[in-house]
Amino acid sequence: MLEAWLTLIWIVIKILLIILPLMGAVAYLTLAERKIIGRMQARMGPNRAGLFGVLQPLADGLKLLCKEIILPSSANRFLFIVSPILVLAPALAVWAVIPFSEGLVLANINAGVLYLLAMTSLGVYGILIAGWSSNSKYAFYGSMRAAAQVISYEISMGFALAGVLLASGSMNLSQIVLRQAGGVWHWFVIPLFPLFFVYWVSAIAETNRAPFDVAEGESEIVAGFHVEYSGMGFAIFFLAEYANMIFVSTLAVLLFFGGWLSPFEGIPILGKWFAWMPGIIWLLAKISLFLFLYLWLRATFPRYRYDQIMRLGWKILIPLSLLWVIVVALFVYYHVGIWFA
C-alpha cells in the first residue's frame, strides 16, 4: 500500500517537472512572440514591465486573474465553464509520451503516436462546445470554422504520421528518434520531405495560427469561439493554444529532425567537439527554431480566405500526402537508400 502511494507521488513529481517548465515556456513564448513580431514590424514590443519587459507575462497573468469572469446570461453555464478545461487537459496530456532524451520519458508506451493522434483530436470538442455554449453568433461561427478546419487538416496530418511510421516501423516515439541516428542525412526529413511540408502546414492549421487563423479572425468575427470568455477562462484557452504550438513543434522535431540527436553526429571534427552536449539541449534548440518559424510565418503572411484554406487542405495536402505515403511504402518495400535498408 505504502509502495503504491510512493509510486504515485513519484509519478506526480515527474509530471510536475514536465508541466511547470512547460507553463514557463508558454509564458515566455507569448513574450517572445510580441518581441519578435514587434522587431519584425520595426517596433520595440513590450518593454515596461521589468528589464526589457521580462516581467510582462507575469503581469499579464496577474491581470487576467483579477479580471471578472463574465457568464453570459444566454450561455449554457455548465458547458461554458467546462470547455476551457476540455481544451487544456488534452493539450497538457500529450506531453506524457514525449521523450526529452534517451530514456528521459514519462510513459514509454508502444502506441505513442496513436495516443498523440487521439489526444490532439480531443481538443476539437472543447472548441466546439465553447462556441456552442456561448450562445453568441460570433462564437458559434468561429467554432464551426475551427472545427471544420481542424478535422480537415487532421486527415493530411494523419497521412504524414503514417509515412513516418512506415519509415520507422514503430509507433514508439523513442524508437522513431533512434531510427534516425547516425547523422543529419539519416533524419527522416530527407526521404519524407513532402510529408514534412504537409505535416508543418497541417500543424499550423490545427493550432489555428496565422496565416490560417480564420477561426479567430479579429477583423471579421472578433475572436471566434472564445469571444465571450474573459479573465481566467480566456487565459486557459490562451495557455492551451500556446502549449499546443510548443507540442506541435516538438513533434516535428521528434518525427523529422532527429529529436535529441546532435546535428553534428558522424561529422569528423565537429562531432567530437559537440559530443558533450546533452540531448535535451539539442531538442530544445530545435524546438525553439520551429517556434521562431511559427512567429515568422505570422509576421509574414496575410490571412488566408476560408475557401482557400479548405481547398489547400482537401485538394493539395491530402492528395500530396496520400501519394507520398504510397511512394514511401514502395521505398520501404524495395529497401531504397540508407533510410530503408
Binding site: 509530471i15 483579477c66 476551457p84 510513459a107 453568433k137 478535422i151 487532421e154 486557459i236 504510397i326 511504402a329
Partner: protein, 119 residues
C-alpha cells in the same frame, strides 16, 4: 508491463484537468463579480444583438464532417499496416496498395462531383 506503463498517462490527464480547474476556481474567488444586464448579453459591436447564437449554418460543414469520418478511419487502417510492413508478406503489401487505389478513385469521384468546393 503493459498497463503499468499507462498509469502515468492516467495521472497526467487527471493533473491536466486539475491545471484547468484550479486557475478557474481561483479566478472565480479572486476576481470581482458585478454582473449587469449589458455585460451579460452576447457580444455585439455597438448595438443590441439581433440574432441569437442558434442560427442556421452552412450544410457543407456536415459534408466535411462526413468526409472526415471516412478518411480518418482510413488513417486508422494505415497505422498498423505501416508499422508491420517489414514483417508482412507481399500479399499484405499489395492488398493495401489496392485499397489505397480504391480510395483514390473514391476521392477523385468526390472531387469531380464538387463535394470539395467552397465558394
Amino acid at each position: 508491463m503493459l498497463l503499468k506503463e499507462y498509469l502515468p498517462i492516467v495521472v497526467f490527464i487527471a493533473l491536466g484537468i486539475g491545471f484547468g480547474l484550479v486557475p478557474l476556481l481561483a479566478g472565480f474567488l479572486i476576481a470581482p463579480s458585478r454582473p449587469n444586464k449589458a455585460k451579460e448579453s452576447p457580444y455585439e459591436c455597438g448595438f443590441e444583438a439581433i440574432e441569437t447564437g442558434r442560427a442556421p449554418f452552412d450544410l457543407r460543414f456536415y459534408l466535411v464532417a462526413i468526409l472526415f469520418i471516412l478518411f480518418d478511419l482510413e488513417t486508422a487502417f494505415l497505422f498498423p499496416w505501416a508499422v508491420s510492413l517489414r514483417k508482412i508478406s507481399s500479399l499484405g503489401f499489395f492488398s493495401m496498395l489496392f485499397f489505397l487505389g480504391l480510395l483514390l478513385i473514391g476521392f477523385l469521384y468526390e472531387w469531380c462531383k464538387g463535394a470539395l468546393e467552397w465558394e
